[in-house]
């Protein structure tokens, strides 16, 4: 694997928005560094890793801080609802395994679990400031839930409200235009 490909992988330590803005420039600078240094030495990679360790956590923390207050609350509520949902689905799965049930029911239950896990992943992504991953997880979660609902139409009204309403509300909030972030001191 070439040094540039390794560095491109290491860049995933930074928040997605930072990578989108500066990733290409950082790769160009890294290419210049490779030209002027021996990339086969331990010292070179130690300096590269130290630079990432020194800068990435602060940028990740800053990305989390820029998640707006209501969005943060919504993400935390989603995590709690997701954990509650997973617990209920696991209980249902255990109950189903004790008696003969149809394949359709098992499939809808598996899709329900997948939708809840994706909802959890989306909420975590929002809290980490990676909005693109959150959007993708929410869309796939919605698709899983809709298919589960089609396969098992006797789903409770509360489950439907949460399974459909929560991802839709979060998607609307994520696509809503944001205010530019302000910064105190550089």
């Amino acid at each position: 694997m070439s040094a540039e490909r390794i560095y491109r992988l290491l860049l995933h330590a930074y928040p997605a928005e930072f990578r989108a803005e500066f990733g290409r420039e950082m790769e160009l600078v890294f290419r210049d560094l490779c030209r002027e240094n021996d990339v086969r030495t331990f010292g070179f990679w130690a300096r590269v890793c130290w630079d990432i360790l020194r800068s990435a956590p602060a940028l990740r923390a800053a990305a989390t801080r820029t998640v707006e207050g209501p969005m943060k609350v919504a993400a935390i509520v989603t995590v709690l609802v997701g954990l509650f949902g997973i617990q209920g689905e696991v209980r249902e799965w255990v109950a189903a395994s004790r008696q003969p049930v149809g394949g359709t029911y098992v499939l809808s239950l598996a899709l329900g679990i997948a939708a809840t896990l994706l909802l959890l992943a989306a909420a975590t992504a929002i809290l980490l400031g990676t909005r693109k991953a959150a959007r993708l997880a929410l869309i796939v979660s919605l698709v899983c839930f809709v298919v589960a609902r089609v396969l098992f139409p006797w789903m409770g009204i509360f489950v439907q409200l949460v399974g459909l309403g929560l991802p839709v509300a979060l998607l609307i909030a994520l696509y809503w235009p944001r205010k530019a972030s302000t910064l105190g001191a550089a």
């Binding site: 930074y14 420039e25 950082m26 630079d51 972030s181 550089a186």
Partner: protein, 124 residues
């Protein structure tokens, strides 16, 4: 009749002090004019005799904060001969004012140290 929103006055330069060392080195490098990322790194390394070596993460992390604070602005992308297109950066008026304010702050510290004979005297 449409009215443009009132422009917010820039924050006073003193509100950014003290400037972190890496950030101050970047401001100093850009005081000479527009530079791209690697040129900033080279300038900092040369001026400090290799004592300060900014990695790409430290450099662009600081540049991101400087851009957000409007101390630095992008000066477009262009390619030097035989090279890829690179983004150039330059100081804003606020950036120049902050750099000056930090220099005055450091100068006051150096003068105080000199008065207390911590520097500028030969060790016994």
């Amino acid at each position: 009749m449409s009215r443009s929103p009132p422009k917010q006055p820039p924050p006073p330069p003193e509100s950014f002090l003290p400037v972190p060392p890496a950030t101050f080195h970047i401001l100093l490098a850009l005081a000479d004019g527009e530079l791209h990322g690697y040129a900033i790194m080279q300038d900092v390394a040369q001026r400090s005799d290799g004592a300060v070596r900014l990695g790409p993460g430290t450099l662009y992390g600081a540049l991101k904060r400087l851009l957000e604070a409007r101390l630095v602005e992008e000066a477009g992308e262009r390619a030097d001969e035989g090279d890829e297109r690179r983004r150039y950066y330059r100081l804003t008026n606020l950036g120049v004012a902050v750099a000056r304010a930090e220099v005055h702050r450091l100068d006051a510290i150096v003068r105080a140290a000199r008065r207390k004979k911590l520097i500028g005297v030969k060790p016994a």
